[in-house]
């Protein structure tokens, strides 16, 4: 028997670490990885509540979140490649113009 709060605390910790990465790192790819970490933390909270209330629906929602996150990664990495082609860098500080 594990109290639900432990899972929620773990989820909150992972989410905070993800925000830390988004705010502090300058490498755009690491920022992307931190976003994935935050998705993961949210999914963990979802699955915890799914177990607690004994429903399957929350698992389906997590499945949708995963699908949309995969689509987001595909688009985001294509954008990264395109930005690298024009700027020759993926430093977030240098992404300050809309038209490269």
């Amino acid at each position: 028997m594990i109290p639900v709060e432990y899972y929620l605390a773990l989820s909150a910790t992972l989410f905070s670490l993800g925000i830390l990465g988004v705010l502090l790192r300058r490498n755009a790819l690491v920022v992307f990885m931190s976003l994935e970490l935050m998705f993961n933390a949210g999914n963990l909270a979802f699955i915890t509540y799914a177990r607690m209330f004994g429903t399957i629906s929350a698992q389906v929602v997590v499945f949708f979140v995963m699908t949309v996150a995969a689509a987001e990664v595909a688009i985001g990495l294509a954008l990264m490649v395109e930005i690298f082609r024009t700027k020759h860098s993926i430093d977030l500080d240098q992404m300050n113009t809309l038209k490269g």
């Binding site: 963990l44 699955i47 177990r51 595909a74």
Partner: protein, 182 residues
């Protein structure tokens, strides 16, 4: 059970911190795989085997491979110079501490009242049950997801397409015509 949870939580938080701290983007991606793996085991403990295995195939498999592919393609594992985010760092760290404190206070206040989870009974959350819900109650969102994925694929191709590729195709055509003409 509690020991298993604490070991997994320790590994998950440790890999997340290492992912943020390491300077090399490839190491970050590898730590991300470890983190996804431990969270997948937590999903298994929580009675979601289908989600756990799709986590491993989708995240630890395809997403991180995509990351590694792009990192190696761009040769962007190291940014030149340090990372001196000057004033943002002094603003960001207190803000994150406030957020973490907020999470902590709220979780501690509800402590012991939310409930307990234990090992699920055998067959709980089987892929058959998930599939039944997915294709009856959530059939419409499922179709919408298909459209999102299709547009993502088309968008990624459109973004990655360059004029150079078009020119290459023209060159190819010209060569073909030259071969035909004589």
């Amino acid at each position: 059970m509690l020991i298993v949870f604490f070991v997994l939580a320790f590994v998950a938080v440790g890999t997340a911190i290492s992912m943020l701290v390491t300077r090399n983007a490839i190491y970050s991606a590898i730590f991300l795989v470890l983190n996804f793996g431990t969270v997948a085991i937590l999903y298994l403990i929580l009675g979601a085997p289908f989600i756990a295995l799709s986590q491993i195939t989708v995240y630890a498999g395809s997403v991180v491979v995509l990351f590694l592919f792009v990192i190696m393609l761009l040769g962007a594992e190291r940014l030149p110079g340090g990372e001196p985010l000057k004033w943002q760092r002094f603003l960001a760290i207190p803000l994150i501490l406030v957020l973490a404190l907020d999470f902590g206070i709220n979780i501690a206040r509800e402590g012991g009242k939310i409930g307990m989870v234990d090992v699920p009974p055998a067959g709980y959350g089987a892929p058959v049950d998930v599939g039944k819900v997915l294709f009856t109650q959530y059939a419409l969102p499922f179709e919408v997801t298909a459209i999102i994925l299709l547009s993502a694929v088309v968008g990624a191709i459109m973004l990655a397409k360059t004029d150079k590729a078009g020119r290459r195709r023209d060159l190819y055509k010209r060569e073909q015509q030259q071969e035909k003409t004589p």
